[in-house]
Amino acid sequence: MPKLEIDGREFEVDGDGFLQEPDVWNEDVARLFAAGDGTGEMTEKHWAVVRYIREYWKENDMAPMVRKVCQSTGLRLREIYQLFPMGPAKGACKIAGLPKPDGCV
């Protein structure tokens, strides 16, 4: 299993860098992931998205539709793409510690 080392901490991740054991996730992990993938500093808006995705996933065992992210955070769609240059899947979901979704992402 590949390991990702950020600032001296090691995480088991899949080939695309998604966390293997979603339970080891915490906000420090999120910050480290964000710093590593071009998202940069986590602002309040970033946190609102990430926390919502995390909660939704815990309840439903899947990532939310981006519409739900918009409606629950009050952010506009285009803002989400600006906040997470890698997009909602490889950006926000990864930072939120979700496993990689299937499909063209």
């Binding site: 080939g15 539709m65 519409r67 769609l77 299937d102 499909g103 063209c104």
Partner: protein
Amino acid sequence: MAGIKMLSPDRKRALRVLENRLGGRLLTHLNSCVHCGLCGKSCHYYLKYGDPRFIPGNKVDQISRLYRRYFSPLGRILPAWVGARDLDEETIEEMVDVLFGGCTMCGRCSVHCSIGVDVPFLVRTARTMLMELGLVPKGLQSTIDTSVNTGNNMAIPQKELVDTLEWLEEDLRMEVGDESAAIPLDKAGQRLLYTLNPREPKFFPLSISAVAKIMYAAGESWTISTHCYDVTNYAFLSGDDEAARGLAGRLCDEVMKLKAEQLLLAECGHGFRAIRWEGPTWFGKAYPYPVLSVVELIAEYVRSGLIRLDPSLNAERVTLHDPCNLVRAGGVIEEQRYVLARAASDFVEMSPNRVDNYCCGGGGGQLSMGEYRDRRIEAGEIKADQIRRTGARMVATPCHNCIDQLMELNQVYELNVEIKTVAEIVADALVLGKQEN
């Protein structure tokens, strides 16, 4: 002499795939490669790594050496003489690594092959053999399983899809200032049945909005089925014909059910190829209705004057990435550039382009096979350099799979570009309102 009889049942099944298909086309291509190696530099993997495993001729050999071993006279008697190989552990391991992990089935090598060997055709046949051995990489297989089991490759519940499309419809009405603007759902008797890549409603719905806006401007009669809409066909990529036929068949049934006149495919390279071109082979007959890409439709709108574009609304430099499955293997070559040249004021080609274009690196199912992620990104450097040389700020590509790979290349190679579908760029250039004549 260990023949087929000595093999385990799954290996026998794998060889039976080969045996059952040893008709004209396969037989011909299996017997044609002369190992000249001149194809190496046509492959983005070989260009990047200089590793002989990635020379297309060696990819051909992954399957032709099995053919020689079990089905050719000299290979049966003197396997070592003709480089024939037993279907053993080591052979299989190299097949998986090279054919799943080192090939996007982009077909660039075939166009330039000194003989004319159809390399992706052979690679796909070999993948079918590996599928019989249960060796399709996990991410690719689970994407297929999700499609088969839930009706779309992201397991989107129908209600979620409907909510998202209704939400987009609201947006569309606001944007065009017309309460009658619509994204018609499950409407029977429309001219076009449109499909989606599940990635669009789930994560990137701007491309749906763009198409809806274009349809609105053209006054088109269209609908989306909320029961069956997934344009992707990952089973085409894994070589699983039975699943591929099933997935394509569902869409065909939906066309009949909704009595649409034509099936309109979203900007999805492999989906277009699988449904438009490969489906008839799986069904053994042509479709009773036309199947076209939304790119072809938009080009027709522009050409006939049904929609009007103002290129100054896209003032930044735009370049175009040609998806292999839509262009080289799909024949949609000029339509997208015809449209972009009229939708953007500074459209430039990357070089090489059209049929000679390099794969983005994410094709052939690579995007779903996480185990080869690093290779995918490294081999994508060729594409990144192509984009950089154009000086473009925006890259259009009519394929969601390419888009995702390009987004990653954009970040890794710091290209500082925006990546969009063709429809998104067209929607931004649309001039609404009455035509002046």
